[in-house]
Subunit: 399 residues, 4 copies
């Protein structure tokens, strides 16, 4: 492998190629940053060094930060949140507090499984500096979720450093620059999805709440956004379903995986079929209560199912949802609080949006992520886009 290798550039997004998943309209950038006050930052870590002790080996990993509002003020003014687990062979540090208190008070960090400790440590170090009350009034418990990129990434060496974490958080930007970088980037750098190159995918939907009689309220103000960011690292190729089309089975029939390989030793059983996971972050600017956000998070699993997930035994499908529609103060001034929130019986369109956008975010990650060669010469091919588009077209599924 050449020492000057670089992460592949992002390929076109699925929707730009005519793929139309779901029935609801997307937001302006069809990404999580369509949700007001949400920004995303990545730090990609890509190195081709010899292994220890002379170097750190082949790094194909990174860090992604999803930041509601601004990282340094979240501790004092938290966002409502909820979490759900479909299959829990993974971890999101902070999930217990999210489930109990229904708040998130730090950026949501995504990274490689064995790097979550270091990322947690770096978030602490960075925020202690900026927030004088951390550790005086209360401890800060950052949220750090993981998928295992050990197929491509030399994960025995924790490749992430504190500076990478700061860079991801500080580099987070909202919708002014369009959708965030996608695919082989940040925490997605080394991820494998349906035995193809996966990584970061995103999508969004515009939601007008709908009552249970099917009628929507009339006011224009009642329009919200649901945005998804997915770290995709799961699935068996033969089950890959793109907008209902059995693309995976067709690829297997074609003889895929055509690539694979690497050194002889690496090749043999280097990879269990379902080693991966999928962390889905659901954001909305609708004012949802924590328990409503938990219910919203739960719907992410339905989106995964539509792409072919069967939530493998070894997979960590962990879903975190938050709202930027209101804040929950750390030191509230009064014993009672007045909250405006979406009426329960108007939740259905939000659920639909979460399902649709999760499905699209996973598929999007596959479209944009190109082939990556990683540790020990192991190659994970990108989705063959032309073949895929041909299959979709044959099934009448291209716009």
């Amino acid at each position: 492998m050449s020492p000057v290798s670089q992460p592949p550039a992002s390929r076109p997004r699925a929707r730009d190629l005519g793929v139309r998943i779901g029935l609801m309209p997307t937001g302006a950038t069809n990404s999580i940053v369509d949700v007001a006050d949400v920004s995303v930052g990545h730090r990609t870590i890509w190195r081709d060094e010899p292994g220890p002790p002379s170097g750190r080996g082949t790094a194909r990993t990174g860090v992604t930060a999803i930041v509601p509002f601004r990282s340094a003020e979240l501790f004092a003014r938290r966002v409502p949140a909820g979490a759900a687990v479909l299959n829990g062979a993974g971890e999101a540090i902070g999930i217990t507090t999210i489930q109990e208190w229904g708040v998130i008070e730090s950026p949501i960090m995504l990274t490689s499984s064995m790097a979550i400790g270091r990322v947690y440590d770096a978030v602490i170090a960075g925020l202690v500096e900026r927030i004088p009350r951390v550790g005086i009034d209360d401890a800060l418990l950052p949220v750090v979720a993981e998928c295992d990129d050990g197929v491509l990434n030399a994960s025995r060496v924790v490749q992430v450093d504190a500076g990478d974490v700061d860079a991801a958080i500080d580099g987070a930007v909202g919708s002014v620059r369009g959708a965030p970088d996608l695919g082989v980037v940040g925490a997605g750098t080394g991820m494998v999805c349906f035995e193809l190159k996966g990584g970061i995918g995103t999508a969004s939907r515009v939601v007008r709440p709908l009552g249970r009689d099917g009628s929507a309220p009339g006011r224009a103000a009642d329009e919200y956004r649901v945005g998804i960011l997915a770290l995709t690292n799961f699935g068996w190729l033969e089950r890959l379903t793109i907008d209902g089309v059995r693309v995976g089975q067709a690829l297997v029939d074609d003889g895929w995986p055509v690539a694979g390989g690497g050194t002889a030793e690496a090749d043999v059983h280097v990879t269990p079929r379902e080693r991966g996971s999928c962390v889905v972050v659901v954001a909305t600017d609708a004012p949802l209560l924590p328990h409503q956000l938990e219910r919203l998070a739960r719907r992410a699993g339905l989106g995964l199912a539509r792409t072919g997930s069967t939530a493998g035994h070894g997979s960590g499908e962990i879903f975190l949802a938050f709202s930027t529609g209101y804040r929950i103060e750390r030191d509230p001034p009064a014993a009672t609080t007045v909250t405006t929130h979406v009426t329960d019986s108007y939740l259905d369109r939000f659920f639909m949006a979460a399902v649709e956008a999760t499905e699209e975010a996973v598929i999007d990650a596959l479209f944009v992520a190109d082939t990556v060669t990683g540790r020990d010469g192991f190659v994970v091919p990108g989705l063959p886009v032309d073949r895929t588009l041909g299959l979709l077209r044959a099934a009448g599924r291209l716009a």
Copy 2:
């Protein structure tokens, strides 16, 4: 057994004898009906007939209804609710909806384990008559919880009839008549607690919310009530702890259980040591969100622990909490709702109240419930009150 046997009259309540459990002030009646808009009704079923086919056998059972507001309007204007399970060897029909939606839309009914179907059926019949929209707009799913009174009650025959259910609901009264009837009454008629006669117990606490710095807000209006009604049917005698005093162990040392007995066949292994359960209903007039109510319900288990519960394998410790502090409309007029609720960081005193009042409610049930002879001549003795008071006095625990 005499055919003219009757349920024993209630004995004095624990607090009236000087027992002082916990640190917080009680409400006016020290019962669940101290909570605004809560009423309680019982129907005691006590029969001494021959068994089938000529009669229904020995009935020592009943129905208890806890009614927020009025039963016929709950369907349209529901109360927020939450549920928690400490050990789930039991059932509360409706718990799944409470956990998902966080509402209760019917009276909460308590009865014998194998009677919950009939009680459900009777609640349906009664409310369909009074609520024209039931079954047109939506099904009604009543809440019916159970403990097993099969030690004293001939439970193989379902002893409850529809008329009993109507009587319990229609007879429900609030605080105007003081605390509800207690002990060997309603669903409590046949229950056994710490191998002594148990049944219905209750207690309440007045709560002034407290911030996390220990300071309370200044306004007099910020005063709420937490009320407990417990259906007590659990526990091993040697673990019975009354206000910290090991009364159960002392009774065992005294040679208890002195009674027991019945026919030879019934006596042998008629009763597993932990056959029972404990359903705790937690009510408050504080405006708590569903998730806050779920957290409040969870604290009931801590109160049980203080009486000596170890949550036996065969026990159903199921806790249901609701608030009368606001209503959740079935057909809300708008896509958003404004709710005033207690601020999370002011919840601690509510939790304390639930723990204290649950502990007291269980102990109260033991004090008031006198000896009952049931099916097959089986006798469950009431707590020996004088001996107990002596033990408490010796430990410095009587007021």
Copy 3:
């Protein structure tokens, strides 16, 4: 409506028309009774009487019993079980005990929402007669789950009687007669799915466990079955997806629902878009531990997602799984038990089977269930099969 109306006969099953959902082989009857020692019985209740007080109105409902082994011996020799809830706007009486103890000790009954009390009561009455120890040693807590058939069925009158329950249980048969009756039958009689006629659907898969390296163990004995029975009563037409093809959207584009109607009063808002639910029963003859069965049950939701479910706010997606691979004795002879169970890392194919077979069971229900006219003249049309097959063929999805 004619007083001689009858339930429509079952139409051909999806697979018999060339629909091939999923990748795994089906069992002999492609139904839940392919699982050893499982039988299914239905009692369909179909009446066209005037409403109360002169009659019981229009009955379009029933009872379905899924019976592991034989109903009268389950109390003593229970089957391992697990449960999962995707959206809990519904109830399965007994779910709390299933979650705590991991056993089922009665037939699993399905019926109309407001009839679950009466069905519970009838199961108690029937089994008390056959099992002398019920109520002596322990209470029996039957399992009764529901969906709301109030759109077609006059559900304000509980239409089920005790005799119907006995008939469903006593009529249960295993695979000797092939797949059980499907569609507009038993509890499925009045159900509505994707705004089309739904009801009972089923499917099965043959499973050879697979290790995480993708290799299967070599012994022929290692072959198991996973069977699904679904009571389908959920969904929005425009989201109906059949084997990946957007049939629902095409039907909406065609102008569907073409039918509907009924009297003027009934027509207006008689039906919220998502009033329904979906109860899925998962059976396997593989020896799975209770927690493994809970995980298996959870996968049913992924199958629903593939058909277009977004788990609506008003829907009760409740999943119950059990194994006939071993028994759990009520009165075990020793303090330790030896159990043979499927190794965790070999679970993936079971999960896949549950996802696939759930998807197919829902679709199967739509294919077999013909149009039904119910209360107040309300009509729910059956899936237009020819149009559907045309759409599948166009997408290359017919075998």
Copy 4:
């Protein structure tokens, strides 16, 4: 404060002073290491440096490792585990996997809240070195739980270093040296419990399983141990209950807290009343299945309740249980596994043991932990032992 300050030596344990909590016999050392194959190691971090930038400030913290078998072989041969949360305002990294898979595959680490990332990172580094397959076959997800010691410890600086983590793990010893060090040691160094000095407490019970008729099986081999290690950092003084005696209320009546203080600035609201948490680790050598261990873990909360816990809003009561009675292989050789486990209906004595031993472990921590002066001169006094013994004696509660 003197720069040569040292952690106070452990004071006598409660039982050695005649305190007798619960009814069951203790193991040989009355500690978690009575459980076969369990060892415990601590690293206490105690520094009195100036704050940053010239030093790291006042360290009153540390790391505790609970090690089943040996740390380097747990990855391949895991122990069955379960987890429960009473109030989730805290975190145990790894809890999601424990709940899903029911295994623990690393030492269980306890430390200060904001140090869990660094401890995780150090466990990874240490074990990668010793286990060649970590990161090749699978990621390793260590278990790291926390309480917040920020009242005494300058927690804004993460005081733990990788070497401390190695030292705690490498120094772990079993019962050969008696009970582990207790009180102001390891992760317990800076903890505060009932506004008194808390820290590490432990206790154990010997369990002979008991059937539900109260009879035990006859074989001597059926004897197991349940051991508790608690990191105690919760509670309001006035609720402190020691073996049923209201010691806390008596101390408040005495004018406690007599100490407190520190610099003027620190003194004012430096500490919310309930900032703390309680992590309880439950170990047993009985072969319990994961779901049984989850149920066992849940009982720890009942033990806390008996000491006066009301599970405050801000508290993280997180309970982790594991068994050394059998192993769960990472790469099992066959699709089925044969497991011997305790029969469900024989669990009650295990539950009782967990309740009793948790209660005693908390009280033990208070007895052994002497006064500590920490950051900004803040003083947390040790339980006044003589006064406490006097109160217990007066209540007849001293052996």
